[in-house]
Symmetry: C2
Subunit: 357 residues, 2 copies
Amino acid sequence: MSPRRVTLADVAKAAGVSRTTASLVLSGRGRELRISQDVEQRVLKAAEELQYRPNIVSVGLRTGTSRTIGFVSDTIATSRLAGDMIKGALEAARDRGFMLFIGETEGDAELESLLIQAMHDRQVDGLILASMFTRTIKVPKAITAVPAVLLNALPKQPTPLPAILPDEVEAGRRAARVLLDAGHRDGIYLIGAGPGLRDVPAESLAAVERLVGIREALGEAGVKVAGARACPDWQPEHGLAATRDLLKTARPRALICFNDRIAMAAYQALDDFGLKVPADVSVVSFDDHPIASWVRPKLTTVALPHYELGRKAMDVLFTEIERDGSDTEEAGQVHRVPMPVRDRESVAPSPIAEFLD
Amino acid sequence: MSPRRVTLADVAKAAGVSRTTASLVLSGRGRELRISQDVEQRVLKAAEELQYRPNIVSVGLRTGTSRTIGFVSDTIATSRLAGDMIKGALEAARDRGFMLFIGETEGDAELESLLIQAMHDRQVDGLILASMFTRTIKVPKAITAVPAVLLNALPKQPTPLPAILPDEVEAGRRAARVLLDAGHRDGIYLIGAGPGLRDVPAESLAAVERLVGIREALGEAGVKVAGARACPDWQPEHGLAATRDLLKTARPRALICFNDRIAMAAYQALDDFGLKVPADVSVVSFDDHPIASWVRPKLTTVALPHYELGRKAMDVLFTEIERDGSDTEEAGQVHRVPMPVRDRESVAPSPIAEFLD
DNA sequence: GTTCGTTGCTAAATCGGGTTAGCAGGCCGC
DNA sequence: GCGGCCTGCTAACCCGATTTAGCAACGAAC
């Protein structure tokens, strides 16, 4: 099948020199070590003609590196979230000539440990431990051997590992401000979590933080949440039930849905009750899932910056790799990536606001 | 940072034997080569206590392998499609103790070539060349050095590479049969492609094949397509425009939408015209995108088996690796993975059929 | 004419495993 | 008392690139 790879020895032979000389020339140290112009040219020509490429595995054996990063996540298949995150990490790695190993643990700690071992066996230079929804995770012992960062997750116990997360609190503030800026003061309801900070889906860090941000921004404006319906899980069916339940007893002016799937379900429930978005009810949401721009009216939502999260994780990982265990000043730092508002069509000025104009 | 990996030499020293002996015991060839029980136990104990794991990089250097497969795709971020495909490939690889390199080319031939080179430099044992939508691709020259398969793509020129694709023709037949089985004979329209085999989005192999299957199944039942609206691209906005255009002049009984995004847009257009799904119009579609079970009524659709495609690609790749350039009987074989119908709520019996009951 | 310095290159070791060939010692047979 | 065989282990080489230490040849200086 393959006609055997061209090795340094082949180049050396073709140029009529030793492997050492060929290596020196090709690593640019020829000048420094007084290799003659003539020999240098012969080696370069031979390497070019034979299309020589150094075998990274061999270099890896000597140096203990592999120019490879391991990306370990709990699930990669759920939504395009993972795809964009991996894409960001991938491009940041490629910029530095690194490749990416992908692994999936399905939340199984043993599998995770095995996977990290398998990556160590291949001498990865660093690890990204990613979670597909923002949460706290138990950092596996196995990762100590190599620089690592947490992506979309916080450590359960204190660790020196940096963490990269979306700025969910600010996102909550921004969602609230979208409504405030449109003049809404009354009839603002939450779907998915709240009103209290304990009324959130299990393990969902994002829920708590978004809620904190929402309440903070509304509070600063002297506005109260009119009510809320928490969901055990942020799936459309729960969103549908929650919104219907709300509409039985209340006439909201605006909904803050905790993600786009819930917002989509809320659209359906509002339609059932003959309410129009945004004329009767404004809707703002989180995530910027692709459906947010497929539904009508298009959904105003605070985007999860998946791509940027992936890139940022890789950037932070590389600074970890470069400082290589020296001062631990920045150890355990938490990096927050801003979540931008995607202004679309689901928010209308409050009638009161128009009146005030 | 890391306290240096435990090597075979460490184990040998701890057991008081040579590296050779340790290697023989640990590779299970101790019996065969008459290593005493006593020594065998000492080595195993030392390996256990030191938590010895062989360095795969080293083995790779000798054997030219890496227990690693390269997964090269044009885009990994589009929809969850890619995620599930990678997941399938990943699990199939993991079953065999292999890891997966991920790479993305963005459709850039030069990037693709560089990426394949980079994977060769790391001695991958095989390559999967994946496309995120079914199409024909130019097979890069660079892949010749190692076994490879095409995933969700057909080669433009004839190559000995196997290809793994969804069975789109049969999917077309199945979609049509869903309607036929419900008694529909008239008023069946297509949204997204058709009526002619040239009325398809550019480069979309899936469109042609689905269309072939649809026409075949309908033809066998003596049923004619009442009409069709092709779209330049299968995005919701095009689907919306196409369906609205159709509804201006026709009153369909059933729609075959060429993917779920278009079906979702068709729902919206039908709603605009006061038509109910499925009471007035039955809708059947392709892909089984997550939204198919989020919309109401839930969409009956013929699923793209992403996960199975990924698994199958890896399985075929491993048979390629194992036969290792021997007889080329199966060279260039095309494997079709069945697309299952997801029966949900968007198809109702034809009024005529009920009458016949 | 010896020593020193410089130029221009190469032998050999290294990384961590696997593999081949072979060695030392004991026992048997003749 | 020597050859042959078996047992139980190990030395040494290989993979491909890098790096350290050092060698050969020549000219210059004293």
